[in-house]
Point group: C2
Chain length 661, copies 2
């Protein structure tokens, strides 16, 4: 399941003599991060602090212009790593002032997977899937009617579909019937039919002038409790061409599904919540439409995946009974709904497909993730986790699937974290902390000054604070460190990730003990959910062949650091695959492959749900997991060995001992 | 194809000694009309003129109270025929003052067919049809959910439909999904599902509390160019329980389809026309809902039949290309449309089915008529005519069907006739004129004072004026008759059918030469259309086994008088069947039998259309038919023989000759 990237080049950093292979065009600071080479970098890659000065000894780079380098430095091939792109194999020297990485132990390179999976990449996870979209566009050159051939306009189109494409047309959208006659004549009988392919035959949903077959777009939506992500797909090319996201505007009515359900029961509550999510999605649609420059009329369909509550509220279905025993959803399978009828700002002909839900607490987002992961197609035992406000886990293979879910909290999406934010431009997504001077090296999405920290950054910073010995295993800062960056803030002790002048904000960006505690709660819920799920079928982590992680952490996830904090179990890192947003992955598949719609139903039907609420084992496991990495040290033997070695070494450094590098 | 009525009784009139069998409960004046016995009756059966005094010699009648009879007359068993109902076999004496019928020659009794055909009667025309409605209601007693049985609400309903009724549910109306959860619980899981049965499976369109299976109603609609008729059917009992009609409010935008199409091309024209027909139907729906007392929510579906232009305008489909060569309708088959989406004032869950059209000028009304007549099921050769503003004819049997249409004018629906009106309360529907004193005997729908004359009355009055020698064969009044009732009015010569004080109006009800000319145009178009249609397949009237007449003439049609004026060909009267409103008959069938929907499509596909516009033979035939009964006397040999005998006799009476009765 290794995902192949484009052309790779080798970058070697001196004097450390560490190498890494990166994609041609990769940012040089990111390459250093990948090679585990520490370079001072506090502006997140915005080119403003000038601390990441390096010398290019051989090879080619492209670089932006900067005032932070003198003419002489430029002549001597000095560059700022953060605004520099790798164009060939490189030898790079890091001057002493930039190099602080005297001490980091060898680490395996983390697994980096492209955040956007196109069709080819989708097929590497689900090679069995066809790639004909559920909505196709077919060009028709119709014979002109005359006295001897005066069938009705609709019949003329039907006959042509049959003749040119062997397609039977059992139904036609009434709106098409309404506009058909005019369009056929204005187009001089040269038109494009938009057709939905269903198991029960084809349905004509649009007719356009001329040949627009190359303009077939869909919008796929992850309707999360906290965040909403959209992508606009080019259905013909099978790839995303624009994406955007935002917080779910329902947030002001409650942070989790339960409080949303409570609000929905107030007078006008459901309507208000529906209006909020529709507004959220409309805003994001506006963005992807604008970004892509696509004509709205060519968006032929939408696919949304969300948990049961989010799905029901989006559709205006009262979620009341999701919350009352015995927890009944309105429907597991909801037929496609005309998107405009929900208030979505999209042409009248486009339908919204929602993913089937399994139960009140295992929703369409999970169906989508399992579909996208392809785990239901394979023999090997896969454990799939989707880390959102609700944490969801699925275990199984092509023969069986069990699933469970737990409230994980929104920490990885930026909720409950002072400077938390979604993985968008300005979010700190990777962090290293020097064990020597405890200065951070940060990478920011979009290479701009930071304004917050996203999920992957949170994992990194907590793991790094733990590894360099700034926090203890319960997530509290050691009080005895005499550092500018550690101080007592409004909400207790905190570590400064970026000083005010290095940020887009008017204050320092910090991480505090409350933030860390929230993250620990989240990771504890996920980990213990997995343990209980495995236990339920008599298995353990050792039986897992493949561990698939989905979630809005960011563009990358550092598996080793995920293990360090006990979010992920201690398995061979090769077993892990990060698929990014699982809902979007599944939604893309359904949009691009008509067979996947059927598969989605199959997946939903296959799954057996295990209830964690009132599960005693889960509660016990959860308490045990409220520690970094875990109270059960036998489960994290290697990690603890590594951590103890690091801590020991840090102590020596602090004492001023001269230790070998 | 004889339609059986309920219990019959025999009524014998003296001194003429003429008998007839009538339905028990029949009005005695109508019985006299059926027996061809003339009784003075100028108030149309309202009981106000007191002229129709008769004596009941034996048998039982029920009668309304009247001041027109003295106590002594009552004791002597005198009654007013018009307000008297036959309850057993009767012997009735007509006193001299009431009896003017000294001279009418023996005539065969006309064929009287009940204006309303229930399911049993429908089956006599189409015995092959099943009677399960296209929309059924099914009672469900659902198991209550619990922790071990927590499937979704929709699944619970689906499983019950499968278990209780062996029904697979491939789709569900989204509105049902939306309200389902609340209703299931409020009804304590005891509900009624409304399900549409289609060829592609069942669709759930409503869910109601408790058992409402006995409340399943439909509304069938004849969307005519001039008039709109609705019936509310009790689907369970298979019979109409209310009916109403009105003029199509589009009339102010043009009398025929062409002028409507022209208007539709003006800015906002189509929307205006659609709004008009929707308003018309809404008004009529209001009437049938009120009359029946049915809960609007229990109207599960609507079926409409209309010509192509009316169908398209009702659905908001631009009729532009119906009028432009090569005359293309938008679609032959239009899928069911949510009635409320058109503006029809009916619950959201009900769909409107429209009849498939054959071509731009042969519409769904014809498909409906052919379906209702059952002619497509039988071996015998049937000629079907539907006399509306557009006259339509279909010829064929179970193997083939040819059809044509022509502009007939609205004369039979009251258009272009000074006192013309639809066949509703107050319309003169039957007329006899005494050959002796040329006094009329009229019967009015609803037994009230007349306010106009409907189609069947028009046929009668023109035939009678011709038979008693008041008009000549070109439809002009003889100028030499010295009668109060014949005079020169504003629009030329006219005959007074009812004097002002005998009417509901403030003026005399008359028929004038322009009225007669319009009627002659209509009958000429119909007759010549039939001739050309037969000729087209090498046949003549003699080959026709069965002649089915549809149209809004009234509750009855007098076949013999239809022949007298040359509307109908001179065939054995046994061959004729009058089915009343053909569109409604077909619409009822589709509503009551799901298989009929499929049959309607089959019928539409079977028909071959013959174009009459620019057809030279049709023009020639039309000119020839502009005469009473026809210029081709060989085609009306018996009729001419009879007429000539009558005229001869009338001349003798006028001259005062003593002739034998």
């Amino acid at each position: 399941m290794e995902i192949k990237n484009d052309e790779k080049v080798k970058v070697t950093f001196y004097p450390a003599n560490k190498s890494t292979k990166v994609k041609k065009g990769e940012n040089l600071l990111r390459a250093a991060m990948a090679a585990n080479v520490h370079i001072n970098a506090s502006c997140g890659g915005a080119g403003t602090c000038g601390k990441c000065k390096v010398r290019i000894d051989s090879g080619e780079v492209t670089s932006q212009i900067t005032e932070k380098l003198s003419d002489e430095e430029l002549r001597e091939n000095f560059r700022l790593a953060c605004i520099c792109n790798v164009e060939s194999d490189l030898a790079v020297s890091i001057p002493v002032e930039s190099l602080l990485d005297k001490s980091i132990l060898e680490r395996k390179p983390k697994k980096v997977i492209s955040p956007i999976l196109g069709v080819a990449k989708l097929c590497s996870l689900t090679p069995e899937c066809q790639t004909e979209s559920v909505v196709v566009k077919l060009h028709l050159e119709l014979p002109k009617p005359n006295a001897d051939d005066n069938m009705s306009d609709l019949d003329r189109v039907s006959v042509a579909l049959k003749k040119q494409y062997e397609l039977d047309l059992p139904s036609t959208d009434f709106a098409v019937i309404k506009k058909m006659s005019k369009i056929l004549r204005e187009a001089d009988w040269n038109v494009t039919a938009t057709v939905v392919l269903t198991r029960r035959g084809a349905k004509l949903i649009n007719i356009q002038k001329g040949n627009t077959t190359c303009c077939n777009y869909s919008i796929v939506i992850d309707v999360g409790t906290t965040s909403v992500y959209c992508e606009l797909l080019d259905v013909c090319k099978g790839e995303p061409i624009a994406s955007a996201s935002n917080y779910n505007m329902q947030i002001s009515y409650g942070e989790d599904v339960i409080s949303r359900i409570v609000y929905s029961q107030k007078k006008g509550g459901l309507e208000k919540l529906q209006e909020r999510i529709v507004s959220t999605i409309n805003g994001i649609i506006e963005e992807v439409i604008e970004e892509s420059g696509v004509d709205r009329e060519n968006v032929t369909h939408l696919v949304a995946a969300g948990n049961t509550t989010m799905t029901q509220i989006l559709l205006g279905l009262d979620p009341k009974y999701i919350r009352e025993a015995p927890y009944i959803p309105v429907a597991n399978f909801i037929p496609p709904v005309r998107a405009s009828s929900l208030g979505l700002n999209i042409e009248n002909n486009a339908y919204l497909y929602t993913f089937p839900v399994i139960s009140s607490y295992v929703g369409g987002d999970i169906t989508a993730g399992v579909l996208g992961s392809g785990m239901f197609l394979r023999d090997e035992l896969t454990l799939y986790i989707d880390v959102g406000t609700n944490g969801e886990m699925v275990l199984g293979n092509k023969d069986w699937l069990v699933t469970t879910s737990c409230s994980a909290g929104p920490a990885f999406e930026g909720g409950g974290v002072k400077f938390g934010m979604r993985a968008t431009k300005g979010a700190i997504e990777q962090v290293r902390i020097s064990p020597d001077d405890h200065e951070p090296m940060i990478l920011v999405i979009g290479n701009v000054k930071p304004k917050g920290i996203c999920g992957s950054g949170m994992i990194d910073v907590v793991a790094e604070l733990l590894e360099v010995g700034l926090i203890d295993q319960s997530g509290k800062f050691y009080r005895d460190k005499n550092l500018d960056r550690i101080r007592k803030g409004d909400t207790g002790y905190e570590y400064v990730l970026a000083w005010e002048d290095e940020t887009q904000l008017t204050r320092d960006i910090t991480i505090n003990e409350v933030d860390i505690e929230n993250l620990v709660r989240t990771k504890a819920a996920i980990y213990s959910g997995c343990v209980v799920l495995l236990n339920n079928v008599g298995l353990t982590f050792d039986d897992v062949d493949s561990f698939i992680i989905a979630g809005g952490f960011g563009h990358y996830i550092d598996v080793e650091r995920g293990i360090s904090i006990g979010l992920l179990p201690e398995l061979d890192t090769e077993k892990f695959t990060f698929i990014g947003n699982g809902s979007l992955l599944g939604a893309r598949l359904v949009s691009l492959s008509k067979d996947m719609l059927t598969e989605a139903s199959k997946v939903a039907r296959m799954m057996t749900n295990i209830e964690l609420s009132n599960n005693k084992m889960f509660m016990d496991e959860y308490i045990s997991a409220m520690f970094l990495p875990h109270t059960d040290l036998s489960a994290f033997k290697n990690t603890m060995g590594r951590l103890e070695k690091l801590w020991d070494r840090n102590n020596h450094i602090e004492k001023g001992d001269d230790i070998e590098l």
